[in-house]
Symmetry: C2
Subunit: 363 residues, 2 copies
């Protein structure tokens, strides 16, 4: 750990690999001997084109996807995707079908509902989003345009540990908070998207990884920038893309590859999650996890303390020890430790030790 | 000039102030002693909130605007604004009325037309967009929702040198390529927007500076992220904003203030433009400017050479002398020298000298 650097447990924007940040810093004034910063270089210039293409190729390689899939770089966050998806694919006859497993899953549904093309396939709201709906809970409408999941629920700290069977209905997933954190059979998904500011880069770009034949289907009546077909046809260069964000995502994807790919990320993420969940499970009930054990996220660990006073004290004392951003979302309360790919094991271990000590001092 | 640094005449992304780049580089790993990079910091954290608020305040101060205006940080480039503007404000009864002065002005109109709510107030297309339509050419529809201008036409190298009188119809302007380049009576505009990647920062954020009462009017039937009211009510923090881009825009706005504000920018930009236009005007017809003299842009100087062979040679030899990005847009051909705020006078002067020398060698 560098002097002055904290362990950043924020849910997003979130910690990035230090080696990647240092690399970007070193070449910040002169990218690839172009005589200009990556911030200044034309998105039509060859050095940028190479960055753009390599980022796409590395993401597809990490996901094990072939030429039938395309990587798009969009803007407006996952929140804009919540609207673009039903606009592009759903209709009254073929609605989008949503699994409500948390806050962002519900927001995605609301945008489809506003357009009159949304329905609910399942919901865990009645249990305060403590679990991921299981296969048997899903009402799959064979006429649905798609089934939409939020694969990891940042606020509630839950994550899918299975890929739903949709009987041929296209499967869509918001993976904003667990994209590229573990190997999955990504071919089972038709459309995956992720705001990159949690696991993959700075806020400002959304990855869409989807089947080309699907992306080509956008209605021509939609505004140009709201059609996925525009991004597909123009290689996400219809207008100036958020080039610096894409450049950083490319560097993070290259880092994941160099570190050993998604298998290695999953191994590390499980180990980090285990040490923090153990601190909860071995606390004699001092820490209470929000998520059901079988729905626990590897990315966001959510838990409460016996009182709000202790929670405030916990946040303050953690920060004093260089453990930053552990306060939970107001809708759940308590604590949330986000331990994305770039969080070192030492950070999770230090948090777990702090949790043990804090419990002994305050139980 | 730093060793290795070129003069970057690209139209956008474009050159940025070197001092601003150095400042960002120096604090890249530890922003404001937070122990994290500006790329990693939560958009809900105090250090970021201060950046966000200061950027807005500086932009409004530079523009001389008061509390009746708000600064929004949107995404998707000006191209997304082309759709959002008619969606939010126009209708069949109250169409958007467009002045077609170039490529982006026409693209903006096309999005309104696609939605069935666009009309043309004037066009200089029949003259190959060589001039900015004058007041007498404008057919102002008193029922229009707005009159839309593109204030500087990057591709054609033309710029407004007057503010049209619209007789009470709200005045909208895309200032992507001349935002904060000179003082204007900005209060005469109701809605100004600008992709920042030309004059103000890295690609990835669009400034909207508009009257609050207008921004509040978005139809509730629109998707959340397509309503200006969402950005107004949530201070552009409904979802994670492109924080790094906003941080850079803030730094550039602070730089403009420190250098002497818009008056000083205008003085420098006029001086730079004069030296390049003089090289055209004193070339005995070797260089032919595209724009009519009274419509010439201070930001983008467009000109042709006697043959395409000479044009290719010009680009190559300019680059060899550290003058990068002078090739024009394919729709006009020839050369385009973009001399935004951050281009030093020395760059413009070196280009003019090169132009003189090239002419003498090749006339």
């Amino acid at each position: 750990m560098e002097a002055n650097r904290v362990y950043n447990f924020n849910p997003g924007p979130a910690t990035l690999p230090l080696s990647v940040l240092k690399e970007a810093q070193a070449e910040f004034l002169n990218f690839g001997d172009s005589g200009m910063s990556i911030l200044e270089i034309s998105h039509r210039a060859k050095p940028y084109a190479a960055v753009h293409a390599q980022a796409k190729a590395d993401i597809k390689e990490l996901m094990g996807l072939g030429d039938d899939y395309e990587v798009l770089f969009c803007q407006g966050g996952a929140s804009q995707q919540f609207a673009m998806i039903p606009l592009n694919f759903a209709s009254k006859d073929h609605p989008g079908s949503y699994v409500l497993s948390g806050s962002f899953a519900s927001k995605a549904y609301k945008e489809a509902e506003l357009l009159g093309v949304g329905e609910i396939a399942a919901s865990s709201k009645d249990r305060d989003f403590k679990h991921i709906p299981i296969q048997e809970e899903l009402k799959i409408n064979p006429n649905a345009a798609y089934v939409h999941l939020c694969y990891n629920n940042t606020i509630y700290g839950t994550e899918y540990h299975y890929i739903p069977e949709t009987n041929g209905v296209p499967l869509f997933a918001d993976m904003s908070s667990d994209m590229l954190s573990r190997p999955l059979d990504f071919k089972k998904f038709d459309f995956i998207y992720a705001g990159v500011q949690k696991n993959l880069g700075p806020a400002g770009v959304v990855l869409v990884v989807a089947k080309k034949e699907l992306l080509a289907k956008s209605p021509k009546t939609l505004p140009t920038m709201f059609r996925y077909s525009t991004f597909l046809e123009k290689d996400s260069l219809y207008n100036t893309p958020p080039a610096f964000c894409i450049y950083m995502v490319g560097k993070v994807a290259a880092w994941i590859k160099a570190e050993g790919g998604l298998e290695e990320m999953a191994k590390r993420n499980k180990k980090k999650a285990a040490v923090v969940y153990d601190a909860i499970d071995n606390s004699d009930g001092f820490y209470k996890g929000h998520a059901d054990k079988d729905s626990r996220s590897f990315m966001n660990v959510t838990f409460r303390l016996p009182s709000e006073e202790l929670e405030a004290k916990f946040v303050k004392e953690a920060l004093a020890q260089g453990l930053s951003g552990v306060k939970g979302h107001r809708s759940v309360g308590g604590m949330r430790a986000s331990i994305y790919n770039a969080m070192p094991y030492e950070g999770a271990e230090k948090l777990a030790q702090f949790m043990d000590n804090f419990r002994k001092e305050n139980a």
